[in-house]
Symmetry: C2
Subunit: 345 residues, 2 copies
Amino acid sequence: MNRTRTSIVDIARAAGVSKSTVSLVLQKSPLVSEATREKVNAHIAELGYIYNRGAANLRQSKSKIVGIVVNDLTNSFFAELAVGMDMVVQSAGYVQFLAHSGESVDRQREVIASMRENGIAGLILSPARGTKASDIKDLADSGIPVVVVVRNLPGAKVSTLVSDNYAGAKAAVRHLIGLGHRRIAFMGGFQDTAVFGERLRGYRDALQEAAILATEKCIIHSAPSRAGGVAALERLITIEDRPTAALCLNDAVAFGVCDGLRANGLEPGKSFAIIGFDDVIEAKTAVPALTTISVDPQGMGQRAAQLLLKQINSGQRDQESIVTSVRLVVRQSCGAPVKQLEEIE
Amino acid sequence: MNRTRTSIVDIARAAGVSKSTVSLVLQKSPLVSEATREKVNAHIAELGYIYNRGAANLRQSKSKIVGIVVNDLTNSFFAELAVGMDMVVQSAGYVQFLAHSGESVDRQREVIASMRENGIAGLILSPARGTKASDIKDLADSGIPVVVVVRNLPGAKVSTLVSDNYAGAKAAVRHLIGLGHRRIAFMGGFQDTAVFGERLRGYRDALQEAAILATEKCIIHSAPSRAGGVAALERLITIEDRPTAALCLNDAVAFGVCDGLRANGLEPGKSFAIIGFDDVIEAKTAVPALTTISVDPQGMGQRAAQLLLKQINSGQRDQESIVTSVRLVVRQSCGAPVKQLEEIE
DNA sequence: CTTGTTTTTTGGATCGTTCCAAAATATTTA
DNA sequence: TAAATATTTTGGAACGATCCAAAAAACAAG
């Protein structure tokens, strides 16, 4: 069909030099004279030559490809994370395989295998729910740098970059307590993720600190999505001594809770205080603007990619664990001090 | 650092056969006897062999990689589009380079160049704003199948897959007219994209059909994002004879408009009717649930990927233009018939 | 036990680069 | 100008797979 694409020897022939010389020109070696460099470059442009990176990779047994596996691209937190990675990966001259595991460990395993066959220089993984450290053991053992982001993988001997979930949750709950709330719920998420565990711990400790008894019924599990938030709220309103505020697992859940409140004739931020987690872009413009814990997903993506590239370039495999700091961004959804709210009741 | 990875000859040596035999086993050829197949497979498993697809690609001068370039991954429409593509690409045994152009034609050019060097079998492109047909001409000329999605690229000789923007916009405006609205705005988007042009044309024709005069001041440009929607609404409320309804360029803008209305003490769906475009996942659960034109981005992604794979496999480069049909999904944001609204005024 | 068939296996060339030692050319020095 | 040195250029061997023609082994028939 398509005639074989033009290669380095075609150029060499056209320019009347050897293929080695052309190769030298391509890698901008200072060993070639200015005259031949120009001559060769002219022919490269004329023949529309396209560098075959695969062949180079084969010879050098290394590549300029990094793999990125994300558990849920439709969640804007992860989409932004991916965009942040993309930025630094691209400007470092790398190209990325980006795959979406959809929270399936099977699919995750498949795509990682496929990436290995294609020869990635490193991998950034935001693990699907239920991923075990053993799932990436042989990858890491093979000497390919791996950076795990967002969700911790206890026991895995790789670098990790997670946000300070514990501190963030604690700060959020302290803020709610400071506003006068005493019955505070924790909404969204499932037991089995590290993120959930860490944030819940922060929530519990903040309550304990204020000598508030944390009741189990105030911890409401649900899918970590907008729809999950709606569902969680439906369960919340049925409990007696209904909480007056909630920390949500993430912003998506928080938005869902807002939706649910409205559907029940309650006004988020007025009759119920809400704090999210992540600070996705919509958090700022939503109505009411969402009080949340800012984790800067794009920045995290950038840092993760930088960490990976550093490991690729240095050749050292020693693991590094970074916990990125977070900060409370107070907006409207957590309302005014609770005295006003109590009056309404 | 890392000892050279085990190759086909290592296996051959271990199993006491030739590398050709191992190759045959790898590609599940029926020519090898059952006995040797098992023996070889045992050694493959034992040595932890990883297939080097790059080497195979070099020899065969073809690859199992498709490139996907998306203009804005943080927009959930495109994120879902990418997920749809990912699904079919992955299950066809391909792997995808996914890049985010961030609406920059320069970056888009760079990533496409990089993908070509890495040897992609085909490309799916959702063009950045301002992309010209000439930008992908030589790619298409080189015989690599290209599918352009979402935004039309007039003049490009490649297959395209776009949703029926014209019909969708028309249906939406007809619906608003049917509810009794007469002053209807078109909000969001910029002049220079094909999508904007097509939807605006649908809007105009529907108004004309009903003998309603379309005034230019009812067409409000803004960024096609949530923030853009907020900004657009701020401008809308200043005009005299304020419209009672709006068709928004997309759901993101529509959500922004809702936010803006609330910030101005107006209630979306009650005092102002809104219709979006795209039907992103949040549209259903938002409050009020968004009336919108459903385009099923994930399905579009799947169809685009299927179209590309078909071209890759068949080797035929004849272009195909698919316009996917859309449908109006009526929810709460467009409110009840306008008589009630007029009474409020 | 040959010969003829069929089934398996195999060596070497190949894909497009990079790398290296060695060759060719240019430049300097005595 | 010849020798010594510095600068450029080059051929061929890798890298790890596939492909193909041909060899080897297994089997059948006479």
